[in-house]
Structure formats: C-alpha cells, structure tokens
C-alpha cells in the first residue's frame, strides 16, 4: 500500500492573487526540509499539497516530524493512496490501513470529501458504505458522530482517492521567505533563539549575527550559538551566521566610556553594526530578543536609546512576554537545554555595577561620539566570520 502525506496550507489561502507564489515557496521549503531523506514528488492541487515518497525505504515518521516544523502548514496527515479511484478500492484499503488505530478506538465516524463530482457515489453514501464495512470488520466499534475517537476520512479527488485518519496540527504561520529577509542578533541565551523562531514563523528568512569577545568569551560560547541556530533552522530553513569580532570595541568601551553607560552604548554599537551587515545581505529589518523590563538595558528608556542608533525597523517579538512564556516556547523548539549551558556571552562582559536604567540620549550619544568607534567598527566588519547553518 502506498502511503503519502497530505498537507493543508494555512493563512496563505487568504492571500488572493499571491497564493500561487506562496504555495511555490512552501513547496520549496518542504523540499528543503525533506532534502536528505530521499526523493519525493511534491505537487499541489485543490489547496492541498501532496508529498509522495518515491522509494520504499523512506522513514515516514521522520518525514512527518519535519513537515510538522515547516511554517505555512495548518495541518497534515498520513494517508493511504487507494489503488484505483473506486468504492471497492476504498473499502479494501481503509480496514487494512487503519487497523491499528481502529483496534485501539472505541468509537469512530466516517467523513467523505468528494471534490470530484463525477464519482458515482455521493458523500453520505460513501460514509455509510465504508462505515458498514468497518463495523463488520471491527465489531467492538460504535459510531459516534459527535465525539469519535477516530475520524476516518475518505477524500475523492480529481486524480485519486485517499483514506486517512485524523489530521495533525502543523506549525502554522507563513512560509519562510515570503515575508522578506531580516537579521537576528543572537547571543546564546534563552530569548534570542525564541525571537528568531517567532519571526521566521511570520514568513521572514533569517540571517544571524553573533558578537564574540575572545578571550572574554570562549570558543564554546560561539559553538553553542551555532548549535542553537541549528535547532532554530529546523523551522527557519538554513541560514548564514556572521560572527563579529567584538573584543577591541568592548575594550575601548571600558577604557573610554563612563561605566554606567557601558551596556547601553554597547547595545547601540551592536545595532549599528548589525544594521550594516543586514543591509549588505538584503535584510530589511533587525530582530532582537528584548523583553520589556527584563534587565537594565531593556527598560523603556534604554530601548529608546538603542532604537535611535539605527534607521532600520527593529522587531522585538518577545517585548510583552514574561520569562516563563519565553521559556515555554524554548522548550517547544528544543533550544532551552542548550541555552542554559553556562558559557559567558559578550553581553555579560564588563557589566557595570549600576547600569543606567533611565539613560539620557544626549549624554549617551555624546559619550559614544567622543570615544570614536568608527575605525574599530570598520575593522571588525572587515573581519567577519561566516558560518553556514543547516538544520541539525
């Protein structure tokens, strides 16, 4: 019996004339996600994408796992392809294909979706006939049309007939890449990978920017960021990571700027450098994991000062979230355990004892300008390290 995966695309159905383009991106993303699992035929028709494995040895559990992480999919299901588009074939396929699920269930119902109006039986007739056959094969079952344990769905399409059980909820969101490109500032903590995930869900293709300050930060901190991005890219598709050598700039900060403004000027410098990298890579926005009030650099005043450093749109998807809410998502996307590994990141190097929580922009800008970071910024940007990130 040939098994395939039926995918319902989500919000993209709403997008009118762009729909075709959205669907093409989604198909491409599915193809990327399944890339090294084997060869597939991926087609779309009647608001459903069909993934058909082209060889017998493909692990469909793994395929489903990956499809479940592709944005733009509302739900998906495994289905059996009936050998021919006839009622006999449906009646022969369903009891065999769904045997395991039906044995475990106490109640069921049959639903028929007949989009091919030329099929000789009407939907209620299909349901009734298949229901009868299933009841006779599995005498322990009862029909419950309101709260069945299993819903057996028969889909009669223009080109084929399928039998399937309940659909599984997909990752939701919009296909990555249909919303444009943005650069995410990633530290290695809990927040930034979650922020990256959330914006990828809204259709953004990501570029990652990480600031490293050896020897104040260790090689392990950078490797940890790579591992985090590998997890994120299971949702966000492969991406490029730029590592900015930040040591000299931080040392200058320490030497030439007032201590209580360290953090805020550092954040501004990061934004300015990120903006330049982003523009060079065709990104239209920056993404950070800031959450209002979480630390001194994330007060309303500090965020104002940070924001002023760049002309770019800055997305802060976590801004209104509690730490626990952020942690819940990091568990879901499996970044939490990596995030809490105890390596120092550049944000905690030279943290002042009493950072300004209400910095005054005028003074911050004056201090930054007086120190004169431009030559060091140039130098750092010329020495970026580039790492390609692929799903882990």
């Amino acid at each position: 019996m040939k098994e395939i995966i039926l995918i319902k695309d989500g919000e993209i159905v709403l997008k009118g004339l762009n729909r075709r383009q959205f669907e093409d991106v989604l198909k491409k993303n599915i193809r990327i996600a399944l890339h090294e699992l084997g060869r597939f035929e991926i087609t779309s028709a009647q608001s459903t994408i069909t993934v058909k494995p082209l060889s017998e040895d493909i692990d469909l559990d793994e395929v489903c796992d990956r499809v479940g992480r592709v944005f733009g999919i509302v739900s998906y299901s495994r289905a059996a392809l009936c050998e021919e588009k006839s009622m006999e074939s449906v009646l022969a396929t369903a009891p065999v294909y769904l045997e395991k699920q039906l044995r475990k269930a106490k109640t069921f119902k049959v639903e028929a979706k007949r989009s091919d109006k030329k099929f000789p039986l009407k939907s209620p007739e299909i349901s009734r006939e298949l229901g009868g056959v299933l009841l006779s094969k599995f005498p322990h079952l009862r029909v419950d049309v309101h709260h069945p344990d299993v819903t057996v769905t028969v889909e009669i399409r223009d080109y084929a007939a399928y039998v399937r059980a309940d659909a599984i909820r997909g990752a939701g969101g919009i296909p990555v890449g249909t919303g444009g490109k943005a650069a995410v500032l990633i530290s290695g903590g809990i927040d930034s990978p979650v922020a990256a995930y959330m914006m990828a869900k809204r259709g953004l293709k990501l570029t990652a920017i990480h600031f490293a300050s050896p020897p104040y930060t260790s090689q392990r901190a950078e490797e940890k960021v790579v591992r985090l991005l590998q997890k994120v890219s299971r949702y966000a598709t492969p991406m490029t990571m730029y590592t900015v050598p930040f040591t000299e700039i931080q040392e200058k900060l320490r030497d030439d700027c007032p201590e209580e403004l360290f953090t805020i000027i550092m954040r501004r410098l990061m934004m300015q450098m990120a903006e330049r990298i982003a523009k060079d890579n065709g990104c239209a926005a920056l993404i950070t994991g800031e959450s209002l009030g979480q630390v001194a650099s994330q007060t309303i005043g500090a965020l104002g000062c940070t924001d002023e450093a760049t002309d770019m749109v800055v997305f802060r998807p976590l801004i209104g979230m509690d730490k626990q809410e952020i942690i819940d998502i990091s568990y879901k996307i499996d970044t939490y355990e990596t995030s809490i590994e105890p390596y120092e990141d550049c944000c905690t190097v030279f943290t002042p004892k009493h950072p300004r929580t209400k910095p005054i922009l005028k003074f911050v800008k004056a201090a930054q300008e007086q120190a004169g970071f431009e030559p060091l910024i140039e130098k750092a940007l010329q020495n970026l390290k580039v790492t390609q990130i692929y799903p882990e």
């Binding site: 050896p214 020897p215 104040y216 260790s218 090689q219 931080q250 040392e251 105890p342």
Partner: protein, 401 residues
C-alpha cells in the same frame, strides 16, 4: 630500511614525550594535569595490544580468555602493589566517580539497619558530595566537616561528629583545588577510637602515584583511585576494599570483580592502568615537581597582583593562584590562545564559586580570579616560563572587573 628508521625515530620522539608537547596548536604547555593527563606511550601501547590482539573475554574458558585474564591479574597486582595491598582487595571500576559512589552507597546500604549517619568533609569531589546528598534524600543523616583556615580537615572536628550511629566517614587524601594534604591517617585513627564499627573511605584520586599510599597504615577501609590522572586512559579506576569489609553492589550481573562490580571488564583500560602503575616513580617525580613548583611560586609571586593560595605544605603537583582581578575564565582563554592550559579553580565546578577557596579565606571576587595550575612529570621549566609570561601579559592587557 628508510621506513624502519622512520619508525624508530618516531618511537624515539614518543618515548621522549616530545609528541605530547606538540599539539594541534603547535607548542603546548599542558598544566592541567589534575583535570586529566596524557596517556603514557607504554600504557597506550598496552591498551592497543589488548584491543587488537588480546581481545578475549577474561571470563571465557578457552585460551584467549585465559590470556586476557592473565592481563587482568597482572594489572590487579600492579595497582595493589602501589597501595601496598593484596590484589584480591582491588575492584576495578569505570573511574573515580564510580568508585566513590560504590564506597558511599555500598557502605551506607551494608549497614543501614543499624547505622544511618555519614560524615564527609565539605571539600570533597562532587562524586562524594552528590552521592551523600542522595543518601540524605533517602533518609541518612549527613554531616559535612569544614576545613580549618589552613585548608585541612582536622581530626578532632571529624571525631566530634562521629557517634555510634555513624556508618561511614569519607575524607579525601589530597584536595583537587589546592593540593592540601589531609591528615587522613590521624582522622581515621580518631574515628576508629570513637566507633570501631564506622567504615573509613578516602578518595585518593589526586594522591595516587604522587604520595606513597600504604592502605593499611592509613587506617582506611576503602580507597578510591583513578586511571586518567596517572597517565592511563579515561574510563578506568579502582576501589580498594579491605579484606573482610562488606559493601553492597550497586549493579547486578555476572561474577566479575567478585560480584561487587559485575560487567565485562574494560580490559584495555585496566591493563593500561597496570602499566601506568608500573611506571610510577614517586620519589623522583616528586623531587622534580617540587623543584618546578618552587620555581613557579618564585616567578609567579614576582608578578604584581598574583598571590599563591596553596599552602606551603600542599602537594607540589597542584598550585592554586589568584591572578589580579581578571576573571579566571577570561585568563584561561587568554592563556589557551598562547598554548598554556590551566583550569579555573576546579574544572568540575564550572561556574560555581569554590567553597574550598572560600574556606581558605578568599573573597568571592578573589575566588572568581583563581586558577589551578597542576603539574606532571613531563612538565618543564619552559612550561612555567610560558605560564608566567602569559599571566603577566594577561594582567597588562585584559580588563579588570
């Protein structure tokens, strides 16, 4: 002929340990020997021979099994000889952590119906501290003895905590962070005087191969040793259990290790440990390392901002220093870039402020800037010079808190 001479040249290099001086990054100054050591050429060769030629199962009845068993017997005798003990008293384990766990749980469970108290020092390795914490969760009373200001555990403090209900006392022989040598013989004597039924265990991982350990005159019932601190591979260690002392096994299976530690033996590791034990030269190595330690102390204290924390009486193999106010992790990475490898405080306690150093009277900030330098017989004056130059350069260029 050419290939043959190349081979001998390589062997010559290897035997002179030039190979371990040249690592992936060029010249290496490995001063982290309390974390782990390079495997000696002879021990590595033995492991290779056992893996490829003497690979029989020591429990097999055929001749290959007997050959393997002979290796096991030899290794057991070699380890026992270093403890001045009988081979029958040696139980091989997967390392120090397992041996410590076996001693603590084994002794606690063997006596739990009559005695439900355990006394340990507060500066033990985490494999003792955490095992004791687990026993505490299971209803045992655990008392932890703090060191005196000289970094050592005092016999009176331990004896005062021992009562008729005490099943086990565990005090390490040498502390892994400072090198402080604990007066274990005196401690165990005081304990046995108070309660002869109480079992005495010492974690001798940092002392093995460096101090002459006489199991019986130490007054111990169990002694833990580990392979990878003494130029044998990782994954092998042993617990010496005095004849007549009963421990409860932590795992169940075959008849290996007198059923105290069943499971097919890690023969490559065990045989290599046997060879490494045969290479111990405690007096000569001790003299060489003492000279290095003295040289290091002299040169390091000459650097402004550097203080030595290890007591003068400490084992010369470990040297704890505080380098200015530079975070130890930063200094460590800085030194690593220059091919000098040390630990921050103790490698096992990543990120946690060290209670051992605080007991020595160091402030939190000082403890946070503390490095552990640890030597082995392969270290040279050049290694110390590289360390001192690295620290001096680090103090000049790195940011202070």
């Amino acid at each position: 002929m050419f290939i043959l001479s190349l081979y001998f040249f390589e062997q010559m290099l290897y035997n002179n340990y030039i190979c371990i001086k040249w690592g992936a990054k060029g010249l290496e100054h490995y001063l982290d020997n309390s974390a782990t050591t390079a495997v000696s050429a002879a021990a590595a060769d033995k492991a290779y021979q056992v893996m490829t030629r003497l690979y029989g199962n020591p429990s097999s009845l055929h001749s290959m099994g007997m050959d393997a068993e002979r290796e096991l017997t030899q290794a057991r005798a070699a380890v026992a000889a270093q403890l001045h003990a009988s081979p029958a008293e040696i139980t091989f384990t997967s390392g120090g952590t397992e041996a410590n766990n076996l001693a603590l749980f084994g002794a606690a469970y063997a006596n739990m119906r009559v005695r439900r108290k355990i006394v340990i020092s507060a500066v033990e390795h985490s494999s003792v501290l955490e095992a004791a914490r687990r026993l505490e969760d299971e209803g045992f009373a655990v008392e932890r003895i703090a060191p005196r200001p000289d970094g050592r555990i005092h016999p009176d403090d331990v004896a005062a905590a021992v009562d008729k209900n005490t099943a086990l006392v565990s005090v390490m022989l040498v502390n892994n962070e400072t090198g402080a040598v604990m007066p274990v013989a005196d401690i165990f004597e005081a304990v046995k005087e108070k309660n002869p039924q109480t079992l005495c265990h010492t974690d001798a991982v940092q002392a093995f191969g460096k101090l002459d350990i006489k199991a019986r005159s130490l007054g111990a019932d169990c002694i833990t040793v580990s392979g990878h601190k003494v130029h044998a591979p990782k994954g092998v260690g042993a617990l010496w259990v005095k004849k007549g002392v009963r421990l409860i096994a932590r795992q169940y299976g075959g008849e290996q290790e007198r059923r105290l530690r069943p499971g097919t033996e890690n023969l490559p590791g065990i045989a290599a440990l046997g060879v490494a034990c045969g290479e111990f030269d405690i007096a000569a190595n001790g003299a060489a390392v003492t000279a290095l330690n003295r040289y290091a102390r002299e040169r390091l204290t000459a650097i402004e901002g550097v203080t030595v924390n290890s007591p003068e009486a400490a084992l010369p193999y470990v040297l704890s220093i505080t380098a200015g106010r530079v975070r130890s992790e930063t200094m460590l990475h800085f030194l690593a870039e220059r091919g000098v490898y040390v630990s921050s405080g103790s490698a096992c306690a990543k990120g946690k402020p060290s209670h051992v150093l605080q007991a020595l009277g160091l402030s939190r900030e000082q403890a946070d800037s503390t490095l552990r330098v640890s030597f082995c017989k392969y270290n040279t004056v050049e290694d110390i010079d590289a360390l001192c130059e690295g620290i001096a350069a680090g103090l000049r260029t790195l940011a202070h808190r």
